[in-house]
Symmetry: C2
Subunit: 262 residues, 2 copies
DNA sequence: TCTTATTTGTTCGTATGTATT
DNA sequence: GAATACATACGAACAAATAAG
């Protein structure tokens, strides 16, 4: 097509549409390696520049992930290997869910119930102010214990979730241990006399930070969903967790009852 | 800079960063008209191609909106005029919130409490199957009354929210009226004996449809947050609303209590 | 370890189309 | 109709990262 001929929809968007359809219909299956851009250009009758723009669109949608270099073990353009993951925000804090089939907390239960294999890497550290702004706004400028969780489904990174706990609550307790035991740390808070009675979550979309992009294998234009989660024991915030999720990868479910009067 | 000299970060990303900073620090204030691409290219010492790529990035983030043509009344590159809007998912269904200062439902109250002026255009229609897939999955293949709300803050379109109500509930009642009265339609459901006792919401990120892009003034690469909201009267779903929000524009708040045992 | 091949990233220059004032 | 401004496309060149031998 000569450069000056413009149809209703731009070529690069049409190519993106075709590749997206190919991903959905099995031509480019989940987890597979895509052909190189020059091959795709020939296949769709266009130039590498157009395919490259299409590629960038699909990356922003989290459908593909590109590692530069000669295609092989690591490098190449990869189709996202797993489907959308559902997060049940309310029921996940019920004891029977958190302990489902011996799970260590809500995430384990969540991934297993969807037929995938969960894995969580955990780093524990102490941190002093300044804390991340959103966290300090809630917990105040005091030392905290941080439980940094790096979470995988079928060995694919799907979530980052650092939890911040006031050090005067956590220090020297089971909350500072790697194995949080049956039911996860929510159960440990209860053991310590800080039974969480109320949860607040604040959801927003934002650009990914560099560490998030590296861990979640996101491209620069792919948005991240941030869930700012606070667990309250009475009037006191005892836990703040900042969940970072690839925006297009997750489905978030909420459920609540209405009380009268209406 | 010659084409083969590459610094750590691509020029077009650096330019996007500079413009984004300019928007945040008041150089390009909310609601203002940006200079044309050739002017920006000169200002940042680069070419129009680079500025154009930067522009596309910022559009994907919903920070600017471009209307092609000679700059003037309508055309040009505009900085998004309003800040992030907060949606309180749980408290918004309490009667005192819905009726705040005489508000007609939750959205009115929400926008007013944030110092902006709400406006809602409403179209009411009857529809027969096939309904949108997600809606039919919940309500079944039956005729519905649709209340299509088009919502503005300070006359800027900020949300689309069609509500689907089974026709056997809504027909000939206040639910089919334009003015939903004090407290909005949730109060009208209660009047009709369908007191909503439970709410479920399912949140996902997706590409915008053409009508959404047109109404919300979104660019093709800007994601939309969809909230699939269902109101239940006992075991029966009596209302499904599909909220479409510009992804980066909204902050969604949830809150709930934990019951024992933990 | 070093060299070569492959693949995507970035930029430039140019040309033309399309939309609005 | 003229002027302005963004949209798209092509082609070329070189950079940078990874793979293969």
């Amino acid at each position: 097509m000569p450069p000056h001929v413009t149809t209703a929809r731009a070529q690069y968007r049409q190519v993106a549409d075709l590749i997206r359809a190919g991903i959905e219909n099995g031509e480019y299956p989940p987890g597979s390696l895509m052909p190189p851009e020059p091959v795709l250009a020939a296949r769709y009758g266009t130039t590498r520049a157009v395919v490259s723009k299409a590629s960038h669109i699909l990356r922003g949608e989290g459908l593909i992930h590109v590692i530069r270099g000669r295609a092989g073990r690591g490098a190449g353009t990869w189709v996202r290997p797993i489907p959308v993951i559902r997060r049940e925000a309310v029921t996940r804090y019920r004891q029977e869910v958190r302990e489902y089939a011996g799970s260590r907390g809500a995430f384990d239960a969540e991934i297993r119930s969807q037929g995938m294999t969960p894995r969580v890497d955990l780093q524990i550290a102490r941190e002093t102010p300044p804390l991340p702004l959103h966290v300090e706004n809630i917990l105040g400028p005091w030392p905290v214990l941080v439980r940094r969780r790096m979470m995988y489904a079928d060995d694919i990174p799907v979530q980052l979730a650092p939890s911040y706990i006031p050090l005067d609550i956590a220090d020297g307790t089971a909350l500072a241990e790697k194995d949080s035991g049956p039911g996860g740390i929510v159960s440990r808070f209860a053991d310590l006399g800080y039974r969480q009675t109320r949860i607040t979550e604040s959801i927003r979309l934002r650009r990914a930070t560099d560490p998030e992009r590296a861990f979640l294998r996101l491209e620069e234009d792919a948005p991240v969903t941030e869930i700012l989660h606070t667990g309250w024991a009475g009037e006191r915030p005892v836990e703040v967790t900042v969940h970072s999720l690839p925006g297009y990868l997750w489905l978030l479910d909420y459920e609540w009852s209405l009380s009268h009067p209406q």
